[in-house]
Symmetry: C2
Subunit: 335 residues, 2 copies
Amino acid sequence: VARVAVDLLGGDGAPAAVVDGVLLALAADPDLTVALVGPSDVAGAELAARGAPERARLHLVQASEVVGMDEDPARAVRAKRDATVRVAAALVRDGVADATVSVGSTGAALAAAVFTLGRLPGVTRPGLAVVVPAARGPLVLLDAGATVECGHDLLVQFALAGSAYAQVRLGVDRPRVGLLSIGAEAGKGDALRKAAHALLADLPIRFVGNVEAHAVPLGGHADVVVTDGFTGNVLLKGLEGTVAAVAEAAAHEGQELPALEAFAHRWDADGQGGGVLLGVDGVAVVGHGSSSPRGVASCVAAAAQAHREQLVPRVRSAMSDLVARRRAKAGMAWA
Amino acid sequence: VARVAVDLLGGDGAPAAVVDGVLLALAADPDLTVALVGPSDVAGAELAARGAPERARLHLVQASEVVGMDEDPARAVRAKRDATVRVAAALVRDGVADATVSVGSTGAALAAAVFTLGRLPGVTRPGLAVVVPAARGPLVLLDAGATVECGHDLLVQFALAGSAYAQVRLGVDRPRVGLLSIGAEAGKGDALRKAAHALLADLPIRFVGNVEAHAVPLGGHADVVVTDGFTGNVLLKGLEGTVAAVAEAAAHEGQELPALEAFAHRWDADGQGGGVLLGVDGVAVVGHGSSSPRGVASCVAAAAQAHREQLVPRVRSAMSDLVARRRAKAGMAWA
């Protein structure tokens, strides 16, 4: 069983796309329960418009405020006690739900998760992990944009958490973890990458060294690719834009490209199941603001899977090594 | 007339691919003269193997050392007085050639250019500018990897130099200059981007604000996209890898994709004419190490064009505004 709290008001297509997506997810998964978090009258009207579907596994949880894309997310989440993302996170904190999903502002979902669920021991800032459908098999990329200013300590956290996530999401026993840089050799990259390389090599993960950016769309070099949120976001949008550019060029020449369509389909927001915030004490999934009902459903399914496969306990365990090292370093080792 | 000094020993296919590329370039441009810089016996043997072609516009300049990909470029260039890249740059410094081309180590070409040609007034570090064949028309991206640690002052230099280069290379009168960031709004991005945004808005260029990464492969938003060398290199390799990934997926399904082939062809190293180092006192073009003869020829053609269209005087002029501001700020204004 998985109980997922979904932000009714997040995303460009809200509330209709969210409701349609939730109904799709419920139909696909008989062990799923959803709490729709938003104004109950809005939810009720949407359901009535769909012929008032059977609601055995669908609950309405009241919340009235929304965090806009133009607001400072941390400040808005702090100020708005009745914001949908905050109420959804509180359901997880209180054990009423197992996971949250929002296709609204990533910053708001992040702020709500940190503020309400808290961070796992050893975590400074959460990372946003996405699954890239690379040509030679999927891989996990993080941070995809949650934290734009990253130090090497944060890259270490992302490597540990990302490795745990790849076990859950990709089903890989010992995921290969690579550091995104501008050359395969250990010495290549900026000061941040050079500092991180030595630290990553010392972790209890399968570190495969630097990987270059072409390895992200192509795949085959690493199961987890670690980078700062600025670079990760730029790379991800660059990949999405390139797929769109190829499709545009093909359409321009009047060519039908079934393979490209299938490829682009795998790449689009709807197929990816959103991003997961790693390092908070609960499962929190955020999707593209442009998510269609199918995109919302894939986020709900990803959230349910993360809960069922013990994502948070796994990340907590992955972090414990880091916590132990810090304690030892600070002279507080219990041993 | 354009006189281009070409590094005989740079690149994976050297010396054969370099010689073939030079012969292609000479055949395509009757006003071109090339100096092949490398061991004269190697050059002589390559030419003899091709039936000793007529050499009215082809000269052999002796240089015996090469900077390897595994060496520290700055140190190696300083130590090796007879390195091909250093001898080639000296030809430009001494007025014997108008431009240099190397498809070897970018770091070595950069070090040789800075060491031998020097920087233009106002320039702290040169930027590597490449032309991206975006779907809606080409654009200039810099820095593509010359300088991985960039402050906001360097992004300002890249914007001025890149705007001058786009005039020459793209034939755009008042190029639109965008700052690569992770959101279109002025406040989006890391501290570096936020600091740079205000400075760019104050320059005598057509600054269009932040652009997101999908605008680079798609085009249409800016003629020049400015970023640090780490992010630029990651984005460029990500785009190249995505094109390769789409092609791989199509081939896997046994589909022929003429439009994709044409697109990939535009994207591959050979079509792009290499990158130009902006901010040094001379035209210096560097190409992919994997360049084919056609790739070498496109670099030589790009170098000749940059010389003919006065790239260096234009960049010098673009920098003068910056120099004047610095003088004024330092209380040394002559006015």
